[in-house]
């Protein structure tokens, strides 16, 4: 039995692997380690340093959906920002292994994304990542048209032909069930659910390797929420795109994620298959969350 404990057999190679990702806000002091933790809280009472993420480990296989669930202050949004490379990590590594179709060809040597310089980081973000935020104003520019917003990522990837850009934007709008004739309308003319679709269209415009979704349905009306989630599931089905989904709502995680991470006070307290987390939660906090489903 001990032989098989750490089974090296895997079905697919991992695409993204995080080791001990840590993000803190504050100077840190010798007392921090003893006074912060999943149960003690994420703020050191001596120096006031907030440990938004502490030693987060996870791995993500190509084509799978990983859910991250936690309440306010759990660090889940910080984690998304760390993966999106907009916030620098204080410790840890974030290994990325590109797909076979990348420019590197067959060379799949893992790359620590946290060591990239500003320019390379931005290149990676523009070409390999897509993100959808909870609030549309974070992901979209309200003064540009919807087409312009979707085009932004393409323009960042050096597309320079207006006709082709519009065609691609139109295709993406159809994919996300938006009326393509509204391509020149400005975001304030759209409803919340539609703006989430615009964000999804924008995030997918450059065929990213990884799609990050940060509380994308929180705050939407229930029927709208259902439609957006169905759309995400459908897109995952059709495009086989790898996703990282953050939500405080276990129902959302249940619908979409194959595997789930449970976070509390910046720490991962439990991770496993989603149905296992929901039906056989091990950690007391997970049990509390599961018992709180409406």
């Amino acid at each position: 039995m001990s032989e098989m404990e750490h089974s090296p057999i895997t079905s697919r190679p991992w695409m993204l692997e995080a080791h001990r990702l840590t993000k803190r806000y504050g100077p840190g002091c010798p007392h921090c380690a003893a006074h912060t933790g999943p149960e003690k809280g994420n703020r050191c009472p001596f120096c006031g340093t907030v440990y938004a993420c502490s030693q987060v480990d996870f791995s993500l296989k190509k084509g799978e959906i990983l859910g991250i669930v936690g309440e306010s202050g759990s660090g889940k949004s910080t984690l998304i920002q760390l993966v999106h490379l907009t916030v620098p990590a204080d410790d840890g590594q974030l290994w990325y292994r590109g797909s076979d179709e990348s420019e590197q060809g067959n060379d799949r040597a893992p790359l620590d994304l946290l060591t990239l310089d500003t320019y390379a980081r931005r290149q990676f973000r523009n070409h390999q990542l897509g993100i959808v935020y909870q609030r549309p104003e974070l992901g979209l520019n309200m003064r540009f048209s919807v087409g312009g917003n979707i085009a932004e990522k393409l323009l960042l990837a050096d597309w320079r032909h207006v006709g082709r850009i519009r065609q691609r934007a139109s295709t993406l709008m159809s994919l996300t069930e938006l009326p393509p004739e509204r391509i020149d309308d400005a975001p304030p003319l759209f409803s919340g659910g539609m703006l989430q679709r615009v964000q999804i269209a924008k995030a997918l415009s450059n065929n990213p390797a990884l799609l990050l979704l940060d509380e994308v349905t929180t705050g939407l009306d229930l029927s709208v929420q259902a439609r957006v989630l169905d759309l995400i599931r459908q897109i995952q089905w059709e495009l086989k795109i790898t996703m990282l989904i953050v939500s405080h709502d276990l129902g959302v995680i249940k619908q979409l994620a194959n595997r789930t991470l449970v976070m509390k006070n910046g720490w991962v307290v439990e991770q496993g298959l989603t149905d296992q987390i929901l039906e056989d939660p091990q950690h007391p906090y997970t049990q509390l969350l599961v018992s709180s489903i409406l």
Partner: protein, 321 residues
């Protein structure tokens, strides 16, 4: 002022010798109440250092300490300070405002400089060593021994898309100009074609995005791989930038909407007959009270030169009777 003289002057700034300044003052013929070219030598030194940095980083905005002048902000103080920092007694200066040597602004600037420097002024572009201009590049091609100083109303091309100075500075630092491209896309989509008339954004040396100042699109190609040094001064915003000679300057354009100037070869100047210069339209009221729009060359001195040449030519052709 040649570019080698420019280099010499930069070396002098580094050492800041007082004797040089005194010698310059003695040679010139200016009002003794003021320092040569109005601003003090330390200020000139500071501006020259910043200009040096600007030349080293083509298209990059360099902040400088903009001094108080007897001219209000927004009336050319930036360009004026650049000119003041560079001119010396042997220079010949030309000042134009939208191509016109005789506009009120150009005349006022000229008077100030004349009084404080005693320099020789000219309206002939080919004779000037230093040309200060507002919103127009002269028609006659500039040489390596000349410097063009442009007045800048707003220095940062990103202000249309990013009002926050901190964020736009970061965008410049990271060459993150995506949002500006979206602005260009929107312009095409909303008006059917590229709709930016002036202050056309360009990429300098494939690194920095730069505002060309409100020169017409007609003048934008003149910046690319030019012999002359272009210096830009924004007094209100307190920034300078530069395009050194033989620098790649590429206007932002799309493959299916390439950059176009306003050139229309069917339009002619009513005075000199040219159809290959930038024309401005004036409403002329004739003696019978009727008025109509007439096009004239924007570059008045060039227009006048051509006109004079034509008159002489005609005079030669007409047999003396």
């Amino acid at each position: 002022m040649t570019s080698s003289r420019f280099e010499e002057l930069m070396m002098q700034s580094a050492t800041a010798s007082q004797e040089n300044h005194g010698a310059a003052e003695e040679r010139s013929d200016h009002d003794p109440l003021y320092n040569f070219a109005f601003i003090d030598e330390d200020s000139k030194r500071e501006i020259r250092r910043k200009l040096l940095k600007a030349v080293a980083l083509p298209g990059h905005l360099v902040p400088f300490a903009s001094r108080d002048l007897p001219i209000a902000r927004g009336w050319g103080t930036g360009g004026l300070q650049v000119t003041m920092a560079l001119v010396e007694p042997r220079d010949t200066v030309k000042i134009i405002d939208q191509g016109d040597d005789e506009s009120v602004n150009a005349v006022n600037l000229r008077r100030l400089l004349q009084q404080t420097t005693g320099l020789r002024f000219t309206t002939d572009t080919t004779e000037a060593t230093c040309i200060q201009t507002r919103h127009r590049v002269p028609e006659e091609p500039l040489r390596a021994d000349q410097i063009l100083v442009l007045q800048v109303p707003m220095a940062d091309p990103l202000r249309w898309v990013e009002p926050s100075l901190e964020r736009s500075a970061q965008m410049h630092a990271e060459a993150d100009y995506g949002r500006m491209w979206v602005y260009m896309y929107e312009s095409v989509v909303r008006s059917g074609d590229m709709n930016i008339g002036a202050q056309y954004p360009v990429m300098v040396d494939n690194r920095y995005m730069m505002d060309t100042t409100p020169v017409p699109r007609y003048d934008v190609p003149r910046f690319h791989m030019a012999e002359t040094l272009y210096l830009f001064g924004a007094g209100r915003e307190k920034r300078v930038y530069a395009i050194p000679p033989y620098t790649r300057v590429a206007p932002l354009e799309f493959e299916d909407y390439p950059f176009k100037t306003e050139h229309d070869s069917t339009q002619f100047c009513a005075k000199c007959g040219a159809n290959d210069t930038f024309l401005t339209r004036h409403f002329i009221v004739s003696t019978n009270g009727q008025g109509h729009w007439t096009a004239f060359c924007s570059d008045t001195s060039y227009c006048h030169k051509r006109y004079e040449a034509q008159m002489q030519q005609e005079a030669k052709e007409v047999p003396f009777v």
